[in-house]
């Protein structure tokens, strides 16, 4: 029997609002020079303190939902999610349970559509530091991160391969970055990933989604797209072995270990938390008007797919365009170049993608000037170039044979030789034209 992957992703994104989710404290946990400086009774969970929701954060959450093609709920509310951990000052996290702000969206990948189950708003926890102070092992709590706005994006179990997972996650990150609401920096923890992985027997019709398997393995501790893909591959192998032996993998939470590129069991079903969700009584429910949604939709910028289409329109190869979508500074630079000299767009895009130029140090107008100076030195004379090409062809007979045998990369080698011989001055377009005609 063969099995296919059934995988959904949970993506946490820290919003970069000025203030925290439920108080006025500064939201800059990563930039804070000292622990516990951006705190108040509310985010410390002191007796009597009350949460007041951050309107901007809710708008940003809805904006993410809109960008992921979600429906925006007309009625929504916050709930309390209870669990005990020292980094959770109140003993519960304010989150959303059964009425999230956004539901039912999707992201298209080249492997097919991945549904977005929900996008909801919650608060981040404080951060524990395990250190040795005066020879004694201690655990310290830094509340700078406590109550930082956190958006959770949950996908449907539509991911069918590790490759698709990577593409999907990257698309989501690029979309959220394009919205300007989060850095999505996995090193800083402003984007965090969890995978739900199981395997289902392949049915007769592969286009029909198989029924959900009777178990689910949740993998935490993933801080890169590659690790996400790795954990899928590892789990697929591990679970398949169990299934082929006739046993059902345990429903459990596992942690990804990057040292051995594997996952390991953290908590079984018996240890699963009962979060005792109930509506947060300190925050009245929300009625989200269509006008409010329309106002937020006004903030929707051009999204990555539209940006790629725009760049392709500038004759920039799609592969280069994909690299650049998340980089707003690069996009602005390319657009400026395209205005000044459209012919240079593909070149500058390639240079930026390959980190060949530092756009913070070179004005677009200076780039255009430099390029036109270089172009003036170019050998464009056909007769002169033909001579040059002929000499290269004569000197590299083996490459000609290779090329004629169908080895495309021989052409690249020959072009390289032409550029080398000309001291980099040969006009590549014309030279290439001459070369292909010649051989």
């Amino acid at each position: 029997m063969t099995y296919s992957l059934v995988c959904g992703a949970e993506i946490h994104v820290e919003l970069r609002t000025q203030s925290k989710m439920f108080c006025g404290c500064k939201n800059d946990p990563f930039g804070a020079p000292n622990p516990n400086i951006y705190t108040c009774p509310v985010c410390l969970g002191m007796p009597g303190a009350l949460p007041v929701p951050n309107k901007k954060a809710i708008e940003d959450c809805i904006l993410i939902g809109l960008a992921l093609n979600c429906q925006i709920s007309e009625v929504s509310k916050f709930d309390r999610k209870h669990y005990f951990y020292p980094d959770l000052g109140k003993g519960y996290q304010i989150s959303q349970y059964d009425e999230p702000f956004c539901v039912g969206g999707y992201v298209d990948t080249s492997f097919g559509r991945v549904g977005i189950t929900r996008v909801h708003m919650e608060e981040d926890t404080a951060k524990l530091h395990h250190e040795t102070v005066n020879g004694e092992k201690v655990s310290l709590i830094d509340f700078n991160r406590s109550s930082v706005p956190l958006v959770e994006i949950v996908s449907d179990p539509d991911i069918k391969s590790a490759e698709q997972a990577k593409e999907f996650l990257k698309k989501v990150r690029d979309i959220v970055r394009a919205l300007g609401v989060s850095d999505c920096d996995m090193d800083k923890g402003s984007m965090r990933l969890e995978a739900n992985i199981s395997l289902a027997p392949v049915g007769a019709d592969p286009s029909v989604r198989p029924p959900l398997p009777p178990y689910k393995v949740e993998v935490k501790n993933i801080n890169s797209f590659r690790y996400f893909a790795n954990s899928i591959e590892y789990e697929m192998k591990r679970q398949e072995e169990l299934l082929l032996k006739g046993s059902t993998p345990k429903q459990e939470t596992r942690g990804y270990r990057q040292d051995g590129n594997r996952t390991e069991s953290q908590r079984g079903k018996e240890g699963a938390a009962d979060y005792r969700y109930f509506p947060e009584p300190d925050i009245p429910p929300f009625r989200i008007s269509r006008e409010m949604v329309q106002d937020i939709a006004q903030r929707l910028p051009q999204l990555p797919e539209a940006i790629i289409a725009e760049l392709i329109g500038y004759s920039i190869p799609e592969s280069t365009a994909r690299v650049l979508t998340g980089d707003n500074a690069a996009l602005a630079y390319i657009r400026e170049i395209n205005k000044l000299d459209p012919k240079l767009s593909p070149k500058v895009a390639g240079a930026i993608a390959n980190k060949k130029i530092d756009i913070t140090k070179l004005l677009p107008s200076d780039y255009v000037k430099e390029e036109s100076t270089k172009a003036a030195d170019k050998i464009t004379d056909v007769a002169e170039l033909t001579k040059l090409v002929e000499s290269v062809v004569t000197a590299n007979a083996q490459s000609i044979t290779d090329y004629q045998a169908g080895k495309q990369n021989a052409l690249g080698f020959l072009m390289g030789q032409i550029m080398k011989t000309s001291g980099g001055k040969a006009d590549t377009t014309i030279a290439k034209d001459i070369l292909t005609k010649l051989i």
């Binding site: 108040c40 009774p41 410390l44 969970g45 002191m46 007796p47 009597g48 303190a49 009350l50 949460p51 007041v52 929701p53 309390r80 209870h82 005990f84 020292p86 000052g89 109140k90 003993g91 519960y92 709590i141 009962d274 005792r276 969700y277 109930f278 009584p281 300190d282 925050i283 009245p284």
Partner: protein
């Protein structure tokens, strides 16, 4: 003396705030040993020092000594909510209600006893010793705001801020011959009030008269940017409404609440009060409000559910003592609430209780559709002997039968003195109104207190 008279005397320099403070401490020194109303009595020197720094103002509360239930965060002053968990805990910030009173020039002399976390109706569930009823020190003062009520009755202060989640202001007011207002949910900020059950908790004034309450409410009511549940509904001019003609107003008498289980002397006292209202031109109608049983059931599922969540933060990691310090009554409520919210039981308990809450809201809407206010008992019995309620958890819950259904609905209720038993114990009644009808309730109380003198009587201490 009323706040109105005190304010006038202070303004005319017939009396100084320092003299009021001296008088309060004299009374406290004389009788506090018998009453035990305070958890933290501020040193008189601190209070006088604060007073000396205070700029005299025209605020009617300027220089008036008052107390807070110990459920309010007070920067620099111990705040325990009567639990050993928070013994020695000194907040780094102040509750909004405390700040507003500070700004109005009122003088805090101490923090008063209560049932820990609001869990109780007798101020016996406290780690700081039971509060005794000034009218009979062998009896409880009620609760959970028993300390503040006793302090007012014993003339230790002019007014207090209590907190009412299921009767915690009204119950002790009725048993101590004081007047207390459970405000409409959202009328007064809860910021800094240590939560019992967040969707029921209300911050309200306690004093000798409805008129005093009008002065206090004018100071503490209103929207607070720190409490998302405060209402933008404009604040009435509560004082201006006092004395408005009551002719044409209608008071409903819910017949179910005057049946079995109600002490006959309490019933008789309220019936006489009804006669007084008739004399003032108020129309009295009998109505049906068949809610007391479901009200109690819904209350004792939702309130413990919320309290099990609200008390999760008291883990002893960052402040206060560990969970071993919770009392049996509090542990019981945490356990009930945790159970009601657990997976598999949520629908049968918490969700069902919320549905009942909706029924309660409708029942009150219907009852109040045909009248302006309801007149109801506060307590089914006279104040019990100390030890009676705490040893019998179920009667302890039943003592709240007339008060608890109000909080899930969110409407306001004024508890005020309605007479005395033959044995000399105070009897209270409550007037329940529509949401944000505090001005009417205070006027109803004010007018009744113009033609009766129960509220003027003081216990012999």
């Amino acid at each position: 003396m009323s706040i109105k008279d005190l304010a006038a005397k202070i303004k005319n320099k017939n009396i100084t705030p320092a003299q009021l403070v001296e008088e309060a401490y004299t009374n406290i020194q004389r009788s506090e040993d018998q009453i035990n109303s305070f958890i933290t009595l501020r040193p008189k020197s601190d209070v006088l020092e604060e007073l000396a720094k205070l700029k005299p103002s025209n605020s009617p509360l300027y220089g008036i000594p008052y107390v807070l239930k110990d459920a309010y965060a007070t920067k620099g002053i111990q705040t325990t909510t009567a639990s050993n968990i928070l013994k020695g805990f000194v907040p780094t910030y102040s509750a909004t209600v405390y700040k507003k009173l500070q700004a109005a020039g009122a003088i805090l002399i101490g923090k008063c006893n209560q049932d820990a976390w609001g869990h109780g109706g007798s101020t016996e569930n406290t780690d700081f010793g039971v509060t005794h009823n000034p009218w009979d020190i062998s009896r409880v003062a009620g609760g959970s705001s028993g300390g503040p009520a006793a302090a007012i009755a014993a003339n230790f202060c002019t007014f207090a801020i209590g907190e009412d989640t299921g009767g915690s202001i009204r119950n002790p007011a009725a048993w101590t011959n004081t007047t207390g207002l459970k405000v409409t949910y959202g009328r007064v900020s809860r910021y800094g009030a240590i939560a019992y059950a967040s969707s029921f908790d209300t911050v309200g004034p306690m004093a000798k008269t409805a008129e005093d309450l009008a002065y206090i409410l004018s100071t503490i009511a209103g929207v607070d940017p720190y409490d998302a549940t405060t209402s933008p509904t404009p604040i009435d001019d509560y004082l201006a409404h006092l004395g408005n003609d009551l002719a044409g107003k209608t008071i409903g008498v819910p017949k179910e609440l005057y049946g079995d289980g109600l002490d006959s002397e309490i019933k008789a006292a309220i019936m006489s009060a009804i006669e007084k209202y008739k004399e003032m031109g108020v129309k009295i109608i009998e109505i049906s409000l068949p809610i007391s049983e479901i009200g109690l059931a819904a209350y004792y599922l939702i309130a413990p559910s919320e309290t099990s969540s609200n008390l999760a933060r008291y883990d002893g990691i960052r402040f206060g003592q560990g969970r071993g310090e919770f009392t049996q009554e509090t542990i019981r409520r945490i356990m009930i609430g945790t159970y009601a919210l657990s997976a598999g039981y949520y629908d049968a308990y918490y969700r069902k209780a919320q549905k009942v809450r909706t029924l309660l809201v409708r029942a009150y809407e219907q009852a109040l559709a045909g009248c302006d206010a309801l007149i109801m008992p506060v307590n089914p019995t006279m104040p019990p002997q100390i030890g009676e309620l705490i040893s019998d958890p179920l009667s302890n819950l039943l003592a709240d039968v007339y008060t608890t259904s109000i909080n899930p609905v969110g409407v306001p209720s004024l508890a005020l003195p309605a007479g005395f038993s033959k044995s000399g114990l105070p009897i209270g009644m409550q007037l329940v109104g529509k949401k944000f009808s505090e001005s009417l309730l205070l006027n109803l109380g004010y007018q009744y207190q113009q033609v009766t003198d129960w509220h003027t009587r003081s216990p012999k201490l």
